[in-house]
Symmetry: C2
Subunit: 345 residues, 2 copies
């Protein structure tokens, strides 16, 4: 169709977004933040509206061989709410658009919706609209989440400052290992359908993959202790990738302590079984939906005794780069990953 | 996967939405209107936020054999803005999510975005976010439009009253005939690729299909003349289907004058060539993106001399049903259509 043909994989996901949105003039005063953060921000006077959207595609983001439809509906909502929490805002509404082939029955749709409603109830958000249409092949789920915040409580990606402490909630790498387990059993099943799947009682890892939760509790704690992070992002593509986003957009560097990366015992055990480095699972795995944030050092007392928040590094000048201080005492440059290749047709 | 298997086609699109959203409790005071209108409505104090979302699927909603990518990007935005205008609100922002296979190059994506930006500029809206991901096959475009209105100026679907006049903007059926022309030439081309397409200089009809416009001008006129329709909906699925929506949700009936349905001369000519009834093209064709609305009879002076607004019927009690008064003098029950079957996989 065109003379020149550049493959989308040449630019990578973020390069592609930059490329396509580099000339995107803003026309409305109410648009405070457009493309480039976890969510967009719209001015409504005292309060702002925060909007985030995501598309989940069968065969790319989920595999119905091991993802139950109800969990899928739940996860589709949660990953979008996570983006709203990552702005330090409260999600209030969602819209859900589905494209699905006639392989899916009404009962299958009911399962998806059961998961959607369960997530809506758990997080106190309302399903306010959407679109249900047919797809020639496969299942596509597009969710838009809408939240609210006071302007002065918003946490963007581009406002981390040199000297800030880099913090993380929860633990990382578990969802990635859950996926490895599910993939392993799928391959075994495909080559020998008689064999029973052996998930090794790894409910924690599998649960982190199939039914992640967003950190509503952390946002509520921030409010209670009077903390506004200087910058924040949710961990969807892996810790390294998210650190790069904050550093690039804030025009700073960072140093991360490998020993400061929180890992669940099951994550460490399973990583070893798979002959993977646990820290690499955390840095490049993704889908943890934990919150990575920076705070002014003067705020340290506010988080110091919170059980599920870990200090794992510091923001440094841009010239110092983005470095990892390993447990072995080496300091080397961090690599960002978290890019899924576009499928072959 | 399930014991019972109900095909989605058994319920139809609207039956399906009703079925899946029948138990959807609203948890937030800010949710004024959820599922069931052109757009959802969120309270933000004096102003409300209006949100609408749509998914366009290759092979279902568009065919890249004749839809240029730039037009497709343009249309994806316009059809969503049309839903915001149908609430008598002003669209301000859009988010766009794309799933596409590696069949699409960066240059192809640039074309889609060029159309998106052209629509954004023309309608004064900002692209504020989205998601670009891979698809195993085909192109999926999901757009969410966000608008603003004063609460007292909103026009819902469920507020038409007996005695109101039923009005329509522009003319109907042209987009449907444009599609028939494009489909005819596609079939000829497929059976004999040497033949040049013959669109018979039908720029108007083809343009209405490939590059529709939303009625921003009408909403601005309403504001200028101080009119708030008692109910309003945009014509995406065909006039008959939209009349049914207003009547069902407002618990009223309607009588439509066939002679009052505005038709473009090209529509009448081409309908005859295709041996179709022009009024049927208007009633069942769809994709016109005109506005169907009702007004209190006391407001008639406000619209009487507006060139592009036509009175085409009246709202009657529910018991009187939904009727068409034909040019031949017969009165018969109207049939609603506008349902696309779910694709075979």
């Amino acid at each position: 169709m065109e003379q020149k043909r550049t493959d989308v994989n040449e630019l990578g996901e973020f390069g592609l977004i930059d490329h396509l949105t580099k000339e995107n003039p803003i026309q409305n005063n109410s648009t405070i933040m457009g493309v480039g953060d976890d969510a967009a921000v719209i001015d409504n006077g005292e309060m702002v509206t925060v909007v985030s959207t995501d598309m989940l595609v069968e065969g790319i983001h989920f595999d119905l061989m091991y993802a139950p439809l109800k969990h899928l509906g739940y996860k589709a909502i949660v990953v979008n709410l996570s983006d709203i929490y990552a702005m330090n805002a409260t999600p209030k509404q969602v819209t859900v658009s589905l494209a699905l082939s006639n392989r899916f029955s009404v009962e299958a749709l009911e399962e998806i919706y059961a998961g959607i409603y369960t997530a809506c109830k758990r997080y106190g958000v309302d399903l306010i609209g959407g679109d249900t249409t047919s797809s020639p092949k496969g299942l596509y789920i597009s969710v838009t989440a809408i939240g609210q915040a006071k302007k002065e409580r918003l946490a963007y990606r581009n406002t981390a400052k040199v000297g800030d402490l880099l913090c993380i909630t929860g633990n990382l790498g578990a969802a990635y290992l859950g996926l490895q387990l599910l993939e392993r059993e799928k391959q075994i099943y495909l080559s020998n359908p008689g064999v029973q799947p052996d998930l090794e009682n790894q409910d924690y890892l599998v649960g982190r993959q199939l039914k992640p939760e967003a950190r509503k509790d952390v946002i509520e704690t921030f409010k209670k202790v009077g903390l506004v992070p200087t910058a924040m992002i949710d961990v969807s593509d892996g810790l390294a990738s998210e650190v790069f986003h904050i550093c690039k957009q804030s025009k700073v560097g960072a140093i991360i302590e490998e020993s400061g990366i929180p890992l669940h015992p099951d994550t460490e055990m399973m990583a070893l079984k798979f002959k993977l480095d646990p820290a690499t699972c955390a840095l490049s795995g993704g889908e943890d939906y934990e919150l990575l944030f920076t705070i002014d050092p003067s705020d340290i007392e506010k988080i110091k005794y919170l059980p599920d928040i870990y200090i794992m590094g510091e923001i440094v000048p841009k010239e110092d780069g983005i470095k990892l201080h390993t447990k072995g005492g080496n300091i080397h440059a961090l690599k960002a990953q978290g890019w899924r290749h576009f499928g072959e047709e």
